[in-house]
Amino acid sequence: MAEPARARPKPTPETQHFWDGTAAGELRLQRCDACANVYFPPRPFCPSCASRKVSIFKASGKGTLYSYVINHRPAAPGFTPPYAIAVVELEEGPRMMSNIVDCPQTPEALELDMKLEVAFEKLDDKITLPLFRPAKG
């Protein structure tokens, strides 16, 4: 029997561009054409000024570690504890939940404000998750 898999996101019309982006190796955010607000999660209007004129752009993929827990129990399906559930503050401003890879899952290794860069993990042909790893250099 196959191991239970991690929860798989199901895109909606409003979020499809984000998931198309990760599958293409891009972290895509949205910027309001009227007030320049950069926001996440995706929606076809600006949550700051309500303008429907918004643009999708490729983010730098750089960020810093804003906060996290290291989950021990209960573990989500598809995860081997202990594993960190992190919130990353992106260089462009928005924050997003993610996991930190290529890094020990310990308080000593996971320092708040450490520099991170996006690392894409392909789940299947349609879904690639944006994870983060310690920035090189």
């Binding site: 929860a7 559930i85 939940m97």
Partner: protein, 379 residues
């Protein structure tokens, strides 16, 4: 809303609290409701307004045989009942109904007749949080706390003291689930759940319920128990996604709802005799003390560690033992309200002598929502 225009005239918890394997969730609602109706000396037919959360008002009204003309199904998590109190007070003042029953119950431990909670994979939570391994409140609610600690200079030992002090209060409450004394070392050596939180910093998982009955202050004098007046109220919501909070060093929903209630009540923080801050996890009383304006966030950890909130301290906090030690069926706000009412009636097991004003602050979801009710026993 006018101060003291509406009062709590009936209040009760389920006959049993803790592990109740012989009762379904809807029967727990009914058990609490019937106890509250008896406490108020009313008949079911006297109730013309009903509010509840998770279960729908129609389920509870039908099961109890109530024919309401006002309903509120606001369901924003564990503080829903604070919002129900606020909405009911406004409705009674507006003349939409006369006598409101608010019920909560949850078969949180035994899981009998409990609706499953699920996150659809195409919801925003399902797309942008679930894939990263969040799995129940212990993996989500503590996510902001490391940032809070770094910003405000709070230590692990200070947060551990929240659990230690609340256990001291629980020891005075015969109905509390956990009464044995604990130390900071016990907390910091208990089983790791989601770093930095260990099991003694996470709420209990129990069965139980509670119910309140509200009516106008003019009618409240005719009831068997001392009326407990609604002095001030506040509410707000922020986001269902903990990752999308404006900031982790404060809760926007807290700092909206709390000050609204204080302004409406027309009181200062020094006037508060008794305080309840919904403690699903040990960091919440710190957020509450700061966001409600009792003190700067930087001082909250030291304030608790120095013993100011323990029995005999200057600001008695979570005097039933809280969600950490009293009980937590899943939506604890109702039990915080029950303890505030007991304190205002002067009948709490750990009664604060002469308490006249009680502030009861709730959280819903993972900082998703908030409600604050300020009670008084003086009109």
């Amino acid at each position: 809303m006018r101060r003291n225009a509406v009062a709590v005239v009936g209040a009760a918890e389920t006959t049993e609290l803790g592990v109740i394997p012989d009762m379904s969730q809807i029967q727990l609602h009914a058990d609490a409701a019937l106890n509250a109706i008896a406490d108020a000396g009313l008949k079911l037919s006297d109730i013309d307004g009903i509010a509840t959360a998770v279960e729908t008002p129609q389920q509870i009204a039908h099961y109890l045989g109530i024919k309401p003309t006002w309903v509120d199904g606001t369901s924003v998590g564990g503080c829903s009942f604070m919002l129900h109190v606020r909405h009911a007070a406004a409705a009674i003042e507006a003349g939409l109904c006369k006598t409101v029953l608010i019920t909560h119950a949850e078969s949180g431990k035994s899981m009998i007749g409990k609706l499953p909670r699920s996150t659809p994979p195409d919801s925003l939570n399902g797309q942008f949080e679930s894939p990263f391994g969040v799995y129940g409140p212990p993996s989500m609610f503590p996510i902001p706390v490391l940032r809070y600690m770094k910003t405000h200079g709070i230590t692990h030992e200070q947060i551990a003291m929240v659990a230690v002090v609340q256990r001291e209060w629980a020891a005075k409450n015969p109905r509390a689930m956990m009464k044995a004394p604990i130390t900071v070392a016990d907390v910091l050596n208990s089983k790791m759940i989601a770093y930095p939180f260990r099991i003694l910093q996470c709420c209990l998982v129990t069965d139980g319920g509670g119910a309140l009955i509200l009516t106008s202050a003019d009618r409240a004098r005719d009831f068997p128990n001392k009326p407990v007046y609604i002095l001030g109220t506040g509410e707000s919501v922020e986001t269902p996604m903990v990752s999308q909070m404006e900031t982790f060093d404060s809760s926007r929903a807290f700092r909206t709802a709390g000050p609204l209630a204080f302004r409406e009540a027309g009181i200062a923080h020094k006037d508060v005799d008794h305080l309840m801050i919904y403690d699903a996890f040990a960091h919440l009383p710190l957020y509450g003390l700061g966001d409600l304006g009792f003190m700067p966030h930087e001082e909250t950890g030291k304030f608790i560690a120095d013993g100011n909130t323990r029995p005999g301290g200057k600001l008695p906090l979570n005097t039933n033992g809280g969600g950490l030690s009293y009980m937590h069926s899943g939506m604890y706000g109702m039990y915080a309200l029950q303890e505030s009412v007991r304190q205002m009636r002067g009948i709490a097991p750990a009664q604060v002598p002469g308490a006249k004003i009680s502030v009861c602050h709730g959280v819903g979801g993972m900082f998703a929502a908030s409600g604050t009710i300020i009670f008084t026993n003086e009109k």
